[in-house]
Amino acid sequence: MVEARTATYQYEPDFAARQSILWSIAWLVGGVTITLVAAVVTMRPSLTQGHGFLSPALLVAASHTAIVFGWLATVGFAAIFALLPRIGEVQLHNEVLGATTTLAWSFVLTVGILFVLVGFDQGRPFAELPAGADLALALILVMVLYNAGVTVVRRREKTLYVSGWFLLAAALVAPLIYIIGNLPVFTGYVDVIVNGFYINALEMLWLLAIGLGIAHYVIPVETGNGLHSVTLARATFWSLFFAGGWAGARIYSFGALPAYVKTIAVAMTFVLLLPVWSAAANLFATARGRWELATRSYGLRFASTGLGLAVAWIGLEALSAVPAISRYVGLTVWGDGLRFLAIFGVFSSFGFALIYHAYPLMVGREWYSRSAASFHFWATLAGVGLGTVSMLATGAAQSALTSSGQAPRGGTVVDALHVVTVLAFAIIAVAQYALAYNAMRTSRSGAYVDLIARSPAAARSW
């Protein structure tokens, strides 16, 4: 057997991952701030009257981009750069390239968001950035894939652990999904289908895959238990990639699309219960007997919370895909509520799990403040819960108004619920400021970490 080549790069291990985590926190803070401002301006458009670049819709587009492609994508890069080397027992192929890709990604995103705010909006949900920025971002995703791929090829541990499957597959499909979703060449109903595919694939094949990759690493390592079942993990992985690309049309089930496309989408949305529920069962079984650790391990706490929220989210997605329900809640804020739960609840929780687990190892210090970490956890959970309930209720109220022949945009109930949604965004924003403060103080003042006690060996014990 040919001996695996080790990385030859001189930069210190985790340089790229650490930079990516810091960028992701910066995007998180910026993103929640823009999201809060967007929610307030949507409620009171007169606040920015006369300033077209601060109109509610453009602010919402900017907030979508900052949260999904700023925070979530960047923390995804951090997961790839941090966990693949640990699983493969080798340093990241090129730390400098990794850090540069994250830096370039953030620069292009910032420029792209500014262009959106001055009117270069492409007019597609989650694909608002101008074409030039899309091209640059797609190239950066290819560079991330290259770095991840070469790292895996050079690994010392030949059997790739479960997390590696998810992270590598996510890195592989990310450029493909991004290019298809942002190509401005489709027209009419095909454009609708492509956008549905894109949003769904973004959630299922990219962000959820990254999240499950994180969860399958953090939970075994933090609990010290080996993964409960590799067979079940295999079922999770293949069912996710089998069904994940087919369910996009459910997002536009209220639109004029071929009936069979809608039918496939509804059926596949139900199939998607399998990967999420099987992952939850597998990882909760993995942590059995060690739940007391969740009181002091915020990585474990956020990873298991992410799984719990994922179970609820995918159940609601399946329920909402049923034609009778979809007809009722379609064209309302209900869909936004589901996406809010996925983005701020599920995917963000997995991102926080990575940060709480890996950041101390990267800076060699324990978290500075347990109180700030605890506040971050509970405030985020409260904000996600409140926001999800208020948005779903708004959607139901809008639908009731529409059914009775009234305009769905106003009314006392809808306005009151919008205030609750703004409150939820405010709580979430304050929670993320606490995380940023804690991370900043940790790098300077946290107690030194016991690296031996936090060996990743447990993750490979299967």
Binding site: G52, K158, L168, T187, D191
Partner: protein, 144 residues
């Protein structure tokens, strides 16, 4: 227990790519090649095309509806011809804004006047030039 798929990364990634392309083929390529669904797009005048660009640039598409033909549960009445030739389609994912395909204001001058001021959660577009406001109104009136 170590299966081949875990060690042979090419097999793993090949499987993922195969499944992704199968999904793209079945849910995008197949309906895209369905000739029975293809409809001739409506040709826009210069003013309507300018209005469409403003509609997109100002983010109107995010909240407002251009395809919802009537109040109530009307989406089943949509057909693929509703957004034929449009890129982007502006179907959107949320409908918290007004139904622009059925404006209560039916004349261009009245619509321009309406757009200049804020109405509830619909912001004022008074910062746009007269030419742009007229183009936007022309586009909106072309929807119904």
């Amino acid at each position: 227990m170590k299966l081949r798929a875990d060690r042979r990364i090419g097999l793993l990634l090949g499987g993922v790519l195969l499944l992704t392309f199968a999904a793209i083929g079945a849910t995008i390529a197949l309906p895209a090649s369905d000739a029975s669904l293809a409809t001739k797009p409506k040709t826009l005048s210069a003013a309507e095309a300018r209005g469409l660009r403003i509609y997109r640039a100002e983010g109107c598409w995010f909240c407002a509806a251009t395809t919802q033909k009537a109040k109530g549960r009307s989406q089943s009445s949509l057909s693929t011809s509703t957004y034929a030739g449009r890129s982007p389609s502006f179907l959107g994912i949320e409908r918290s804004g007004p139904d622009l395909a059925n404006p209560t204001t039916a004349t261009k001058s009245a619509l321009v006047k309406y757009l200049r001021k804020q109405h509830g959660k619909v912001p004022s577009f008074g910062y746009l030039s007269d030419k742009d406001l007229n183009a936007l109104a022309t586009f909106l009136l072309s929807l119904h």
